[in-house]
Symmetry: C2
Subunit: 394 residues, 2 copies
């Protein structure tokens, strides 16, 4: 009999983050899909109920001031900031990731010199980033050039206005070298725009430290904000005065209630706001972020790597050699917080795994994706998932 | 003593819509700010709790299919459709009004002949529409020309690509002539884009009947969807194949889970979707729309006019002549569902009214705004508000 179940138990017992699991609603399912939709933090339902029943139902319009609705986008941005290595005043929450990619790219192009007529986009990124980049290029008269992250240094030049990259590849789980790529982009005089959807909340990002210009990310994966919860936009302090939004809604006006027909942008990160903020979802996210109180992202990263290492070891022991190909890099410096395994029948295999209570997901055409959320995933979860996978693949 | 309190009571007793008030959470406050934030429908909290606790907390990722999350934008669009006179398949819900104005305007400009280089915008509209119109014009190389709705017929010409108009003026409550203006816009070969924020749910709109091309609206006023609930976009069936979105997110792709790097737009109204839909807010809105079951918009309109007529009569009796100026038109054909009264000390007067439990709002610089939501506002509310106003103005 394998020693892995016992080892998993020991690893869980030694895990200092293990008690965080109690902050979430979980059951007997092994949930390895937190990189698609994070689990529900246990205290969120009561907070949402208060927002609906008291703030909306009783205070109604007064809540815009009295319940802090109006300032929620920047207040919650400041809650996300430490998780991505940003000082306060640089992040606002609101709109979808796609919409924020649009704001960031058009604004980046406008910050670059007019002679720079090319926009580079990560060819391996989540598709929506590519579609939106194409629209941003079209509307600003730039040429879009898709390149892999590895090709970026060679593709940079005098023509490059901005580069949109994904920090972690959604399919393979590969972590790209944000510090080095950002430095290379800056060396050529272009702006670096990063999509943090698959990294924020799972590993240190260091936006300020590495001089990232603009960044976007969703909040429903490792940040557990709830289905389709609002995304965020980071604009580096030094660039905020030059942030010229393609979506200048009344919420980004210097004096929104002045109702002036002329647009004067607000100072700071507020410039990234657009329309009326979506309060129910925003405040559910704000509540969800409480689970991070006192949690170190460094500790989360260490556990994430230990979990994915252990999962790979279990897969190695439980699965016939050659039955799956791991497309996630072995090297820690190149690995996000998911393991992607390729096999021809991935779609069917994932269906069977889900039916027996091991929830990962399938990405077209042949990838099994297992996401590891260090806040609530344990080593026994990893072992159980690998064992079930081995049985289904046998 | 005035006969108005007794008359109000009789009018309430004869009001066939009066029982609908019980579908909302209301208290002793006279709430005349439903044109800013609709009151909470009584059954919404339990529905939201189910979405959070069961759909997110227990089913988690499975809810994208099993709880109908994925199809919510178009399903809820079809719930709004009859309220604005649209056949199914033409409305999707998601994003803010501002973002939808952007989609609609850029798409309208792209549908117009290239030689048409001018975009007309309602100079009296809610400011965000003007700001976004300016951005749409800038990004598409058109000239923006602000004109009042009355000036539109004279301003139309061969250069006009599209016209953005607000159905009801947010400040004065003036209802613009959607059928005639749309016809005039079409006669010159341009596209008509309407903002329905202040009309949908208060009066018949007739989008299909009058051949409106594109329309947007919020859902948190007369539709009671909750603070910052998602807005909607209407694209007339006949134009959907030519709808070329400036925000082509993965949710509007013909095959969103194909994860193709090339964008192929979905057919129909889905083309107006962008990123991952905001489920908590969307499903709160869906629940809120249940209050409309069996309610006729014609009956709502009749009550709205009766309410505003009665309120004006009460104001006339309770307020010293000349103390306030009514800026909302007398004519029913030109009146939305609010009454706007102008007086120099409007800001102070509204503060005192709110302190005594009569909630309207103030619009810079000198407008007192009283919104009448026929689903839950009664004639006694109107009388009480006018009486309090008269006392505060004395």
């Amino acid at each position: 009999m394998s020693e892995l179940p016992l080892l998993a138990k020991k690893l869980d017992e030694a895990d200092e983050l293990a008690p965080l699991r109690d902050r979430f609603v979980l059951d007997e399912v092994v949930y390895l899909d937190g990189n698609s939709l994070g689990a529900l933090p246990a205290h969120v339902p009561d907070r949402v109920a208060d927002v609906v029943r008291r703030q909306w139902g009783e205070l109604r319009i007064r809540s815009w001031e009295e319940s802090g609705w109006w300032t929620a986008p920047e207040r919650i941005g400041d809650r996300i900031a430490p998780l991505v290595g940003a000082a306060p005043g640089q992040i606002v929450v609101g709109d979808s990731t796609s919409v924020n990619v649009f704001k960031a790219l058009v604004a980046a192009i406008r910050m670059a010199d007019d002679s720079r007529d090319e926009l580079l986009v990560d060819a391996t990124t989540f598709p929506t980033d590519g579609y939106i980049a194409e629209s941003a290029a079209r509307l600003t008269g730039r040429t879009l050039r898709p390149v892999t992250p590895a090709e970026v240094p060679g593709a940079l030049g005098d023509r490059t206005a901005a580069v949109l990259l994904n920090h972690v590849d959604y399919r393979t789980g590969r972590l790209h070298d944000l510090p080095a790529l950002t430095a290379a982009i800056h060396a050529c005089g272009a702006l670096a725009v990063w999509d943090l959807c698959h990294s924020a909340g799972a590993l240190p990002v260091g936006l300020d430290e590495h001089g990232v210009d603009l960044a976007v990310g969703c909040t429903y994966k490792y940040l557990n904000g709830g289905p389709g919860s609002p995304a965020y936009l980071y604009v580096r302090s030094a660039l905020q005065d030059r942030f010229d939004s393609p979506l200048p809604g009344w919420n980004s006006h210097a004096e929104p209630f002045g109702m002036s027909p002329a647009y004067t942008p607000a100072a700071g990160a507020l410039r990234g706001r657009v329309g009326t903020p979506d309060i129910l979802s925003l405040l559910a996210l704000e509540a969800a972020l409480d689970v991070w109180d006192g949690v170190s992202v460094t500790a989360v990263r260490a556990k994430s790597l230990a979990l994915t290492d252990f999962f790979l070891r279990c897969v190695g022991e439980y699965t016939e050699p050659g039955r799956v190909e791991c497309v996630t890099p072995e090297a820690h410096t190149e690995r996000g917080s998911q393991i992607a395994l390729r096999c021809p029948d991935a779609g069917e295999v994932m269906k069977r795994l889900i039916a027996r209570g091991v929830v990962g997901d399938f990405r077209h055409p042949d990838v099994l994706r297992f996401g590891f959320t260090p806040l609530y995933t344990g080593f026994r979860d990893a072992e159980r998932a690998a064992r079930a996978l081995g049985e289904e693949l046998a």
